[in-house]
């Protein structure tokens, strides 16, 4: 966990892998994510997170529809989680760019045993937009309950 309210770390400490302009940065297996962002779990900060998703997809040469879909999917996942986050907690998002695919993980700490509603319009939209989406529950460091949405999006036209 990082203490900064916002944290972005593309290829830091691995200059041998970094490319000029980093248009097609690839995440190595088992190492730090391509980009990690931590914000306060508040709706007002979600535009920043979805802008990063959109920017990464554009740099990875995603199809314009796929960029739009990823931006919407990330917004949806973050909005859902922020609505369930414990007061004063953080939203942590990681993005791994694998050439033709971007893996996204969004996580919040919840106040208690919170169920993520999967019968909402928003959730169905998220399932439609992402090529794959999954929910994980578990414990964060410190024993607090964490709720995670993982999704991935492919570069080409998927719909």
């Amino acid at each position: 966990m990082h203490s900064e309210p916002m944290h972005s770390e593309p290829m830091k400490g691995r200059p041998s892998v970094a490319q000029e302009d980093s248009p097609s940065v690839t995440a190595d297996q088992g190492t730090a994510p391509t980009v990690e962002i931590r914000t306060a779990a508040r709706p007002a900060l979600i535009p920043t997170v979805r802008a990063v998703a959109s920017d990464l997809a554009a740099r990875a040469d995603f199809d314009l529809d796929a960029i739009s879909d990823l931006r919407m999917a990330v917004d949806e996942a973050c909005a859902t989680l922020v609505g369930l986050a414990a007061p004063g907690s953080s939203l942590r998002c990681t993005f791994d760019v694998h050439g033709e695919r971007i893996d996204v993980s969004a996580q919040v700490v919840t106040g208690g045993a919170t169920e993520l509603p999967t019968d909402s319009f928003g959730w169905r939209v998220l399932q439609t937009l992402a090529d794959q989406v999954a929910i994980e529950t578990g414990e964060e460091d410190g024993g607090r309950r964490a709720l995670t949405i993982r999704l991935h999006k492919l570069a080409g036209p998927g719909l």
């Binding site: 739009s68 319009f121 928003g122 939209v125």
Partner: protein
């Protein structure tokens, strides 16, 4: 195609824990304005990003639009740069309400930011989407 929300209003807003802005000072910078280009037609113009933060303001403006009672109503989304499911929910609710009252609802949109969400959710079928205001037929 996914099931669209029924007659229930848009998703409840998620409280940001901050005081709501006064009218005309909407968080997220959503701009909303009404115009009446001719009698019997009212247009709601929207500019900015429609997400969980701003969707409740859009919902309130759409309710005002319906309350005006014109036979033809239009929502001009040319200035919209992002449209999330919360905003789609508000638009779909308005479309269903207009259909119930046998009124014609037009959506003015050409950008991917608006058309793509309408397409992927299958909600474009609920509106008459036109590329500009001149596409709105006379009474």
């Amino acid at each position: 195609m996914i099931p669209l929300p029924g007659s229930i209003s848009a998703q409840p807003s998620r409280d940001d824990g901050e005081p709501a802005g006064s009218p005309g000072c909407v968080p997220g910078g959503l701009e909303l304005s009404f115009s009446a280009p001719r009698s019997g037609l009212t247009v709601l113009s929207v500019a900015g990003e429609i997400d969980t933060l701003t969707a409740p303001h859009l919902g309130a403006a759409l309710d005002d639009l319906l309350d005006r009672g014109d036979r033809q109503i239009a929502i001009d989304l040319e200035g919209v740069t992002f449209l999330a499911s919360s905003g789609l929910g508000a638009l779909i609710h308005t479309a269903r309400q207009a259909a119930r009252d046998d009124r014609r609802l037009f959506v003015v949109a050409t950008s991917r930011a608006v058309l793509r969400p309408l397409e992927v959710t299958g909600s474009a079928q609920l509106f008459t989407v036109v590329p500009d205001r001149s596409g709105i037929p006379g009474p």
